[in-house]
């Protein structure tokens, strides 16, 4: 019997660390010292925000918008947190990029008062949303319906929880439905290059294509 996929969702409540940085030197020192939770929030959880602008983490956003250090913002934005197995590696890369920039531009500007970088963490609440899919068709219906907080939890947050760059969706599709090809196609959707709504759309497309293929194989016409 196939084990169903239980949809969960996460919601994060913001917590301040009370720490802030008004220039790049302080930002660098703080990145070296703040908690793993804090680095996680400002990088991985950036994807939970509906970012309209072009950055991919809070550090890049601040460097670009508040310090107007565009080149640094581009470099920070190109750091893909999903390339790293843990926060330690990500933190090291962030420091490398900032240090390299400071070597070339040792006197960066100060942020305006009130526009400093504020270091935050979150408390995340995870809860089932009362939806369980028993097959791919039900899964498709659910994907169309759930809030973005659910897609974030299973597609983004799962990568750190499950490890190895694997998300909950593709794991279930491969392990419970035995659809390795579809699982691989979903795994190939780059979490770094899309916002959550686009991720939803891409997953929908892949599943619809798979279901069409299944129906054709069974000789069912649309």
């Amino acid at each position: 019997m196939i084990e169903g996929f239980e949809f969960k969702q996460c919601t994060s409540i913001l917590k301040s660390t009370g720490k802030k940085a008004g220039n790049l030197h302080t930002l660098r020192d703080m990145i070296a010292r703040v908690s793993d939770d804090c680095i996680f929030h400002h990088t991985y959880q950036y994807f939970l925000k509906e970012h309209i602008l072009e950055y991919t983490n809070d550090f890049a956003h601040w460097a670009g918008e508040s310090l107007e250090e565009r080149s640094l913002a581009e470099q920070l934005s190109s750091i893909d947190p999903y390339e790293f197995d843990n926060i330690k590696g990500l933190r090291k890369e962030l420091l490398y990029v900032v240090d390299d920039y400071l070597e070339r531009f040792p006197e960066p500007r100060e942020a305006m008062r009130g526009d400093e970088f504020f270091f935050n963490e979150t408390v995340t609440l995870v809860f089932p949303i009362g939806l369980k899919a028993k097959n791919l068709a039900e899964f498709l219906m659910a994907i169309k319906y759930v809030d973005i907080g659910s897609i974030y939890y299973h597609f983004y947050e799962a990568r750190m929880r499950v490890g190895g760059g694997i998300d909950d969706f593709s794991k279930w599709i491969e392990e419970s439905l035995g659809k390795k090809g579809l699982a691989e196609r979903i795994r190939a959707i780059d979490p770094f290059m899309h916002n959550i709504e686009n991720i939803r759309k891409h997953i929908e497309e892949q599943i619809e294509e798979e279901l069409r293929g299944d129906m054709e194989a069974m000789g069912v016409e649309e």
């Binding site: 919601t11 802030k20 009130g114 963490e121 979150t122 408390v123 609440l125 949303i129």
Partner: protein, 403 residues
């Protein structure tokens, strides 16, 4: 009651609320502030308490009583937290404490969670009995007058957690500091959909001409809301675009400076018939709703702001808002996307002219603004967050909590 939000509030918010309601069913949650009417805190409590009760939580709202001297002192404290240099003598601090001591004797402080709003009832923590105590600071304390801020710290540190509206208001305090934006209620009289008849009734009764675009600011008559700056901006616009300026505000029982500011605003407006100053009585929510719906451009040109909920209110009605880039306003307005952030009177005038001359752009911005508010600033999200903080305090030390 919570079912009324289905279809409006995000699904995930409602689901989590129901889960948390299951956890806290039958437990007591006390809110204390210093005024029943006027101002954003009272408004949100009027709506939030019934929602909490409908979720099965034993929610209560108490208001502390004080004499005129007490409210003069707390107004000074408020202004000092917003950056004004104010002298609070030891005798004044003593009076602040004494009034709270008297209130503690009259209010039942026995609750599983107690949320104290703003500095007026802050010293009540000295009389805590049980439960989780949370201090909710609604004020912009990003640049406070230090003497007063530090003096208040003696109370703040006795709470289990502090909640600020914006991250930049928080300080390194060696205690849990949560960041929760305030919210609006889409079903309240101030925000619900109005019929054309209802809008016309208000407009006719208040004498608002509809033959020209209306520029509106809804706020207390307070120098930090910069009503004089708004009039100056309107005068710059008026040279190019015929328009009407409406300044609408309600008196608050805990703001003795309001009447002085109102007098100054009236004098500054002089005899311009196109500047309409409305001192609306408390509970004029439908009138404010109607005014926001007929406005072409809505302003919140604050110089200091806790959060500036009138911004979200107007955005919910599909209006592009021009707001001062202070306090919580930048969290509501994505510059150039859901409205405009401004830093000067000249900037305000320029953006008003831009919106008056590009109605299509104003419409698109307004639509985006409404959706942004739906996802981020509705009351169900705030109730969810308060209950989450309560739950986080009871699960202290965990950064991921499974429900």
């Amino acid at each position: 009651m919570i079912n009324q939000y289905t279809g409006t509030s995000p699904k995930g918010d409602l689901l989590l609320l129901q889960r948390l309601a299951g956890v806290f069913h039958g437990r007591s949650f006390l809110h204390v502030n210093s005024t029943r009417e006027g101002g954003g805190v009272a408004e949100i409590l009027q709506r939030m308490i019934p929602i909490l009760r409908s979720l099965g939580i034993d929610a209560r709202w108490e208001v502390i009583k004080g004499d005129e001297v007490f409210f003069e002192i707390t107004k000074k404290i408020h202004n000092a937290l917003q950056g004004n240099k104010e002298i609070i003598t030891e005798e004044m601090w003593q009076h602040h404490f004494e009034v709270n001591r008297q209130n503690a004797a009259n209010i039942d402080l026995d609750a599983d969670a107690v949320l104290i709003h703003d500095p007026q009832p802050g010293p009540l923590v000295e009389f805590r009995k049980k439960g989780s105590w949370i201090w909710r600071c609604h004020i912009d304390v990003s640049n406070p007058f230090k003497d007063v801020y530090n003096a208040l710290g003696r109370y703040a540190l006795k709470y289990d957690a502090v909640i600020f509206s914006v991250a930049k208001f928080a300080r390194a305090m060696n205690m849990d500091e949560f960041i929760i934006s305030p919210s609006i209620d889409p079903l309240s009289e101030k925000n619900r959909e109005l019929t054309g008849e209802e809008i016309n009734e208000t407009v006719e009764r208040l004498g608002i001409p509809l033959d020209r675009p209306i520029i509106l600011q809804v706020s207390r008559f307070d120098k930090f809301k910069d009503p004089l700056g708004v009039i100056k901006a309107y005068r710059m616009v008026k040279k190019y675009n015929d328009c009407v300026l409406v300044l609408a505000g309600s008196p608050a029982t805990d703001d003795p400076e309001g009447s002085m500011m109102l007098k100054e605003v009236k004098e500054f407006a002089a005899d311009d018939p196109d500047i309409i100053i409305l001192l609306l009585p408390p509970f004029s929510d439908r009138d404010i709703n109607a005014l926001q719906r007929v406005a072409g451009v809505v302003l919140q040109k604050s110089l200091k702001e806790g959060f500036g909920l009138t911004v979200a209110e107007a955005m919910w009605k599909g209006k592009p808002v021009i707001g001062g880039a202070v306090g919580g306003i930048p969290l509501q307005i994505a510059h150039g996307v859901t409205g405009f952030l401004v830093h000067s009177i000249e900037g305000t005038a320029f953006r008003i002219r831009q919106l008056l001359n590009a109605p299509e752009m104003a419409k698109t911005m307004g639509e985006r603004a409404r959706e942004f508010v739906r996802k981020n600033f509705l009351i169900t999200r705030q109730v969810r967050d308060y209950l989450s903080v309560w739950y986080a305090i009871e699960n202290k030390g965990k950064s991921i909590i499974e429900l």
